[in-house]
């Protein structure tokens, strides 16, 4: 039997999302800005798609309390512009924010950027959520205050869920002040050398906000510092001294190259890394795999992998690598061998490669929770293939 072309529903309010879930039988796909639509397991057939890009905008910003509630389809890029007027920001810099990624999509994919070193991911920044479950139940958890231990934290369940438990409709976020000054210090060198720098840096009191190595010839370590206008230059000086000869201040555009490489797009490296190659839309050159492991295991791991592009948080243990499609299974195995986790992101259209590494020990538990919340498995078909 051939399926009819799936319907696309475009709810613009939480209530419409709930009605759509209740009124549409069968399996539902959830779409936001589409910046991660090819990540993780290939989506299975759906009877309808919930396009949440119209569920957008700030609901309530409390500058004095440094919190904001937003509709889940709000692009973080737009949110940041609104917050900036108040000297505030969501301390979050995932690469795809620049391409319009939404709050809900970023939570669902557990995406994060270089500054997760200090601020954590969205799992650390979301303080409240409202979601719609498969049976139309609208469930709220957390609240509008930063400190809150009342009840189970549903936001965590949604983080990295790829929509498994249904769509988020509202999200409350904690905010941070925009720093008065930001600087980026770069030093060229291969990943092993960079890893040594990072050990010394993290043992120092310099409090870097982000520490990332980007591949190239020979590759480059980027360190971001934030602080006061008067005081930052002195810390930049201390940092350059610590990193030794060759360390120099680089422009903030170095992070654009970083973002492009993280997306699997050509971004250059080494001297080219400071160049102005904007992140272009388009299919990646190979398969992009996100990996995480203990920080000191990362550089040796990367050295084993057949990568064509790498961005590596040498202090967080989180890296994004581009490899030939045929090497994806090998990457999963190598990461698992050092106790890490891995997930396939963008990949060539035709590639048939495993999306995830070995199943976690808590898989049975995950299935049990899902059975309670979505017994008919309406959401996220295929996303966690081959586990479930």
């Amino acid at each position: 039997m051939t399926r009819a072309a799936p319907t696309t529903l475009r709810p613009t309010s939480a209530k419409e999302v709930r009605d759509a879930v209740l009124d549409t039988p069968g399996r539902l796909a959830i779409a936001g800005a589409g910046t991660a639509r090819h990540w993780a397991g290939r989506p299975g057939d759906a009877d309808a798609t919930l396009d949440l890009s119209g569920l957008s905008g700030v609901i309530h910003h409390n500058p004095g309390d440094m919190t904001v509630s937003v509709h889940a389809g709000t692009p973080v890029r737009e949110l940041q512009q609104i917050l900036a007027e108040h000297g505030q920001r969501l301390a979050f810099d995932a690469a795809r924010v620049a391409r319009g990624a939404t709050v809900g999509g970023l939570v669902a994919t557990a995406d994060a950027g270089p500054s997760a070193l200090v601020w954590g991911g969205l799992r650390d920044l979301v303080i409240g959520t409202t979601a719609v479950l498969a049976d139309g139940t609208m469930v709220r958890s957390g609240g509008h205050v930063i400190k809150n231990v009342a009840g189970y934290d549903m936001a965590k369940l949604m983080h990295g869920s790829y929509g498994l438990f249904g769509p988020l409709v509202e999200v409350v976020l904690r905010l941070h002040p925009v720093p008065k000054a930001v600087a980026c210090v770069a030093v060229d060198g291969p990943v092993g050398e960079a890893a040594d720098h990072v050990l010394a840096l993290m043992a120092s009191p310099l409090e870097p906000i982000a520490v990332e190595w980007v591949s190239g010839d020979p590759g480059r370590l980027l360190v971001r510092l934030e602080g006061g206008t008067e005081t930052l230059p002195a810390r930049v000086g201390r940092l350059c001294e610590l990193l030794g000869s060759g360390a120099h201040e680089a422009g903030e555009d170095a992070w654009e190259t970083h973002a492009a490489l993280t997306a699997g797009l050509p971004g250059g490296g080494g001297d080219a890394a400071a160049g102005d190659q904007p992140a272009a839309e388009g299919a990646p050159d190979g398969a992009v795999v996100r990996i995480g492991c203990a920080p000191t295991r990362l550089a040796p791991l990367l050295a084993q992998l057949p990568t064509t592009a790498v961005t590596a948080g040498l202090a967080t243990g989180v890296a994004t690598v581009t490899v030939p499609g045929a090497a994806v299974a090998e990457v999963h195995d190598a990461v698992a061998a050092v106790g890490g986790t891995s997930v396939l992101r963008d990949r060539p259209e035709a590639l048939d490669a495993p999306a995830w590494g070995p199943a976690p020990s808590a898989l049975t538990l995950l299935k049990a929770v899902r059975a309670r919340l979505d017994p008919e498995a309406r959401f996220a078909a295929g996303r966690f293939d081959p586990w479930m």
């Binding site: 209530k15 004095g64 557990a110 189970y152 934290d153 498994l164 409090e207 808590a362």
Partner: protein, 484 residues
């Protein structure tokens, strides 16, 4: 009803006679946690020494559907470790080894019975420390911190236990053992680690915890400042935040709390001030000095009557000793007291303190206030005399304060948890659907309801036949949220 002798024997066969307590004289030690008003003597207390024995105990419980309650140091303030009638307590404080300090990866691997302060003690030779610092940190355990998602004075800048736990080994209610979380912030699938954190012992028992360690800041600057009113102190906090400064900690105490703390510790607080603020900044020398100058200026601007800067680590420790002893010290000025824990949006602090004042006056009871001013987390201490028959009035006032926090758009609890104490208040903060979904999640972990039953969520048995009054959430009334 006593446990079947054969079940008792199964526990003895697993743990040995000495580690299974059944003598009521000994099990009575475990009848309550820090919420001492609620007491239940457990049938048995099990004291396993290894993670696999914890799992063994849970498997026996699961097989016989015996409710169990995990317990660390028993310092919790919400009755989360209150034993269950006809159930067993599984004490994990004998699993108390620091298994590893990995300085290069800035993390430590701990058994659940390690105390909070022992983590920093083990890390400090490497220039590292463990950030969450609940006031009970000398005795409370990391297992309990995981269960309660504990905070502390420094969580404004550094976050709570959930922000510092990378992974955990957990015994699920069926006795199976899983790892939640991973070696990095990347995880395979949903963050079940984060669901477990703060679940108050209702989803399983943690047997191993890997925490992140932070580098000890280059400098710490601490000041103690007196103000003519709590409102003035609150304005200082607002201005600090508006200046883009995130202090490591901002604590406020009112006159009653200061009187108690100073009497107990002689830490150097002024006895004649209506309000005192403790502000601490940490970081690099450059940033700290620049921000500290600004903080002092803000204090002056709001009529600071005395400003004392800690000139040495000893002076800093003294200031903190006074603050952290405040709860217990209140015993000096009142025969009995209740510690409350609620949160309001920080900008509404002055307003709620005024309301608490009025409510106290109306009830004819004194209320001392100690609070984490930076994040709006209040700890009103309701003073009363049980001997004079004020208990019920005090409990009522204390609950009213917590529910007022919710009305003001805050939370029933910032760090002490719901436990038994506030389970029946949960319907003031969450709708029926919200609570029903939490119960479904719980059933996913614990289909047989054996794991710390009667805690966190309201039950008809605990709260009366109706699972709770439904009232529209204040945020709903204000049009900030909608319930459909």
């Amino acid at each position: 009803m006593p446990l079947d002798r054969r079940i008792h024997d199964e526990f003895v066969a697993l743990l040995g006679d000495a580690d299974v307590l059944s003598d009521p004289v000994r099990t009575r030690t475990y009848e309550c946690d820090g919420l001492t008003g609620n007491r239940v003597v457990p049938e048995l207390v099990l004291l396993p020494r290894t993670a696999s024995d914890v799992a063994g105990c849970v498997r026996i419980c699961a097989r016989h559907r015996i409710p169990f309650v995990a317990r660390g140091a028993g310092t919790g303030l919400s009755g989360g470790a209150l034993p269950v009638a006809d159930g067993v307590v599984i004490g994990v404080n004998r699993l108390n080894r620091v298994l590893e300090v990995d300085a290069e990866n800035r993390r430590a691997v701990l058994e659940p019975g390690v105390t909070n302060l022992e983590i920093t003690a083990a890390a400090s030779p490497h220039g590292l420390y463990y950030a969450p610092d609940p006031s009970s940190q000398q005795v409370c355990t990391i297992g309990g911190n995981v269960a309660e998602n504990s905070g502390g004075a420094h969580c404004l800048k550094y976050g709570f236990t959930t922000n510092h736990v990378l992974s955990m080994e957990v015994v699920l209610p069926d006795g199976s053992v899983v790892t939640l979380g991973s070696d990095s912030m990347e995880q395979s699938g949903p963050d079940l680690r984060g669901v477990f954190l703060g679940s108050e012992g209702t989803l399983g028992i943690v047997t191993k915890v890997t925490v992140r360690l932070l580098r000890t800041p280059e400098v710490m600057r601490t000041l103690l400042a007196d103000f003519p009113s709590v409102a003035a102190g609150g304005q200082v906090v607002s201005d600090i935040v508006a200046a883009g400064i995130v202090p490591a900690a901002v604590e406020m105490m009112d006159a009653l709390a200061i009187e108690a703390a100073e009497g107990a510790t002689g830490a150097g607080y002024s006895l004649d001030t209506p309000a005192a603020l403790v502000v601490e900044l940490d970081g690099t020398v450059e940033e700290c000095d620049e921000q500290f100058a600004l903080v002092k200026e803000i204090c002056d601007r709001h009529g600071c009557t005395r400003l004392h800067v800690a000139g040495s680590p000893e002076e800093r420790a003294n200031i903190w000793r006074g603050r952290k002893a405040a709860f217990a010290a209140v015993g000096r000025i009142s025969p009995d007291y209740i510690v409350q824990d609620g949160v309001v949006p920080r900008t509404r602090l002055a307003e709620i303190l005024g309301r608490i004042d009025e409510m106290g006056a109306e009830a004819g009871l004194r209320v001392a206030n100690v609070f984490h001013a930076g994040d709006g987390n209040l700890h009103p201490l309701v003073l009363f005399s049980a001997a004079e028959g004020q208990t019920e009035r005090a409990e009522h006032l204390s609950s009213q304060i917590a529910e007022l926090c919710v009305e003001m758009g805050g939370s029933l609890s910032g760090e002490h948890g719901i436990g038994t104490d506030k389970a029946c208040s949960m319907p003031t903060m969450f709708g029926e659907d919200d609570l029903a979904v939490m119960d479904r999640i719980r059933a996913g972990f614990d289909p047989d309801h054996v794991c710390n039953p009667g805690k966190l969520l309201p039950t008809p048995r605990l709260c009366g036949e109706k699972p709770g009054r439904y009232r529209p959430h204040p945020l709903e009334e204000a049009g900030l949220i909608e319930r459909l």
